[in-house]
């Protein structure tokens, strides 16, 4: 069997991999998988580039594109994708800003918004909202705070007016009355948030293994979407799946506490790992226009479209 190291975060968005592993889909494809856990997505890409890790999931960020430009890594499948109607990224306003009148997404201009970094997915999402609503990003004050924790702190204490956040955290904050919901990102952009990637070396030298891996992973995605997203899913099956995920996510908390967080964190995954190459190209262009990614980067360098269906 091929030994494969998967770089993963303990997030629900990585659940497809955990499912594929637990249900033996990797084994079925002759892959001996092993997880290596990280605290942030960026280092997974770097570790893939340096060969410590074979596969990872990352947002299509500026950092990832730069690594791709250096010929180190490539996207091979889609993972997280915004889809109308399925809880995804939430747009939030701080209580103070909400009371002062920021009660709708189109009132964002003139307000501040917290993000992790320039060139992060948050940055891009904001740009998409601005495009859709019809204002310029310059009309907002974007505040890079490096960490999600800092973003939450800044929003709760009213130091920034707004932010975009993953659903399980966002719902928690809104539920506790620490901030107000303004809307869902899918109303403004249905876009490819993250993708499955591997090193260029793997693609070139172990193409057949990569194919098998993607197949197994896609099975995990299918299970996840079927059980976690469908409104009419069998509760027993869902419980079983949450238990599987709980082995990896929020495992330091008791199951009763973790389950709601896991369930509320479920977001839409690309069926069969299909990759929204149109959107990926759009993202690439945006980063290049912003001067965050060199123009030498091409779509070929960024993604290998031969493993999954693209659209």
């Amino acid at each position: 069997a091929d030994k494969v190291v998967i770089g993963a975060l303990r997030f629900t968005s990585h659940a497809a991999g955990f499912i594929a592993y637990e249900k033996g889909y990797f084994k079925d494809e002759g892959i001996d998988a092993e997880f290596s856990f990280f605290q942030a997505a960026q280092p997974i890409a770097v570790a893939t580039a340096s060969g410590d890790v074979d596969f990872g999931i990352a947002g299509v960020t500026g950092g990832f594109m730069n690594l791709a430009d250096k010929g180190a890594v490539r996207l091979v499948a889609g993972v997280l994708h915004e889809k109308k109607g399925v809880d995804g990224m939430m747009i939030l306003a701080s209580n103070q800003a909400y009371e002062a009148g920021l009660d709708a997404v189109d009132k964002l201009p003139g307000h501040s918004l917290a993000m992790t970094q320039v060139g992060s997915t948050f940055h891009y999402m904001t740009a998409r909202i601005a495009e859709k609503v019809g204002f310029s990003l310059d009309e907002m004050k974007l505040v890079p705070l490096q960490k999600v924790g800092s973003m939450i702190g800044a929003l709760k204490s009213g130091q920034v007016d707004s932010m975009i956040m993953v659903p399980h955290i966002a719902k928690g904050i809104v539920g506790a009355g620490d901030a107000k919901q303004l809307g869902w990102l899918y109303d403004y952009a249905e876009y490819q948030i993250s993708g499955l990637f591997t090193s260029t070396k793997n693609i070139e030298e172990r193409r057949e293994m990569v194919e098998r891996f993607v197949r197994a992973y896609a099975k995990g995605i299918a299970d996840f979407n079927r059980v976690m997203l469908a409104a009419d899913a069998d509760p027993a099956e869902r419980d079983e799946m949450v238990k599987i995920i709980h082995k990896y996510v929020y495992n330091e908390r008791p199951y009763e506490d973790a389950a709601p967080l896991i369930i509320s964190g479920a977001m839409n995954l690309n069926d069969a790992g299909a990759l929204d190459i149109t959107d990926v190209e759009k993202q690439m262009k945006w980063f290049q226009d912003a001067g965050l990614v060199p123009t030498s980067l091409t779509l070929d360098k960024l993604a290998d479209t031969s493993f999954v269906e693209t659209y």
């Binding site: 290596s36 856990f37 990280f38 605290q39 942030a40 960026q42 280092p43 770097v46 570790a47 580039a49 340096s50 410590d52 890790v53 960490k147 999600v148 924790g149 800092s150 939450i152 702190g153 709760k156 204490s157 330091e252």
Partner: protein, 284 residues
């Protein structure tokens, strides 16, 4: 020339002389003392207890919002959770392993390079400016490169701590050698001691106080860098715990973790004091 016990001359002696007497005899005024602040042992614990009580009072009465600062009891709760779940041991073990390996390697290499700089012209010319230029570079800025250079395993974590302790040890060591009393070296030469004997018996013991002091600094820096080191894909470790707490804005855990680091620092510095007391018992 006459011998005579004096002290019988002068004005007549009266018992219990007042500060000023009619006959112009005055006691010499006292004008010394002071400028020797003596620590009062009970002030520090008293102040500490008072601060914590005030903090608790402020938190429980809502003067201090839990967002700004969690109550001491909450911090204590987070800490006892950490202990009871057995995670403290796990985190400590991970962090201490990194600390010990990184510090030991960094300190050893640092002393070796420091000795080379202290003794030989060419290493001195080459490495002294290099060390001066690299030392002040913030290690967190280099983390992305460290991942590529040393991988995401223990390598890059140990390397971060190694780098952090290497430079202060180099500087302390060659500083100590530069400060060795040249008269002692000359003494060694005057007795025809060999170069090696002089280095081993005179220079290194002379530089030991400076080296131990450098260790104290290097150890502090190592502990500070633990947080940076464990930014790189660490699952366990006090630094990782603090980072995670910060990410989740779990301020009670954050402060519990920071307090653990601070206690760790105090323990290490106490250990080094012990080592100093033992190795430098010859000091006046």
């Amino acid at each position: 020339m006459t011998d005579s016990v004096s002290g019988t001359a002068g004005a007549p002696i009266t018992d219990d002389a007042p500060a000023t007497e009619a006959g112009g005899r005055r006691s010499v005024p006292f004008r010394g003392g002071g400028f020797a602040p003596k620590p009062v042992w009970y002030v520090a614990p008293l102040m500490f207890v008072a601060l914590v009580l005030l903090w608790e009072f402020g938190s429980s009465n809502g003067y201090i919002s839990p967002l700004v600062l969690p109550a001491p009891t909450e911090v204590l709760g987070a800490f006892s959770d950490l202990v009871r779940s057995g995670m403290l041991a796990k985190h400590l073990q991970a962090s201490l392993t990194r600390l010990v390996i990184g510090f030991a390697c960094g300190a050893t290499l640092g002393v070796l390079v420091g000795v080379a700089i202290g003794l030989y012209s060419i290493p001195r010319s080459a490495f002294k400016p290099l060390v001066a230029a690299i030392f002040p570079i913030p290690k967190i800025a280099l983390l992305p490169l460290f991942i590529i250079w040393f991988g995401i395993g223990e390598g890059s974590k140990v390397a971060t701590i190694l780098f952090g302790s290497f430079f202060p040890m180099v500087i302390a060591t060659y500083g100590g050698i530069d400060a060795v009393d040249r008269n002692l070296i000359r003494m060694g030469q005057s007795f025809n001691l060999s170069r090696v004997a002089i280095v081993r018996n005179i220079i290194l013991p002379s530089a030991l106080p400076a080296i131990l002091n450098g260790m104290r600094i290097a150890a502090s820096i190592s502990i500070i860098l633990l947080v940076a080191a464990e930014m790189i894909g660490a699952e366990y470790g006090i630094g990782a715990y603090v980072l995670l707490a910060g990410n989740l804005m779990a301020t009670d855990q954050l402060i519990a973790g920071v307090a653990t680091l601070s206690i760790l620092g105090l323990i290490v510095s106490w250990l080094i004091s012990l080592a100093e007391r033992y190795f430098l018992r010859w000091r006046a």
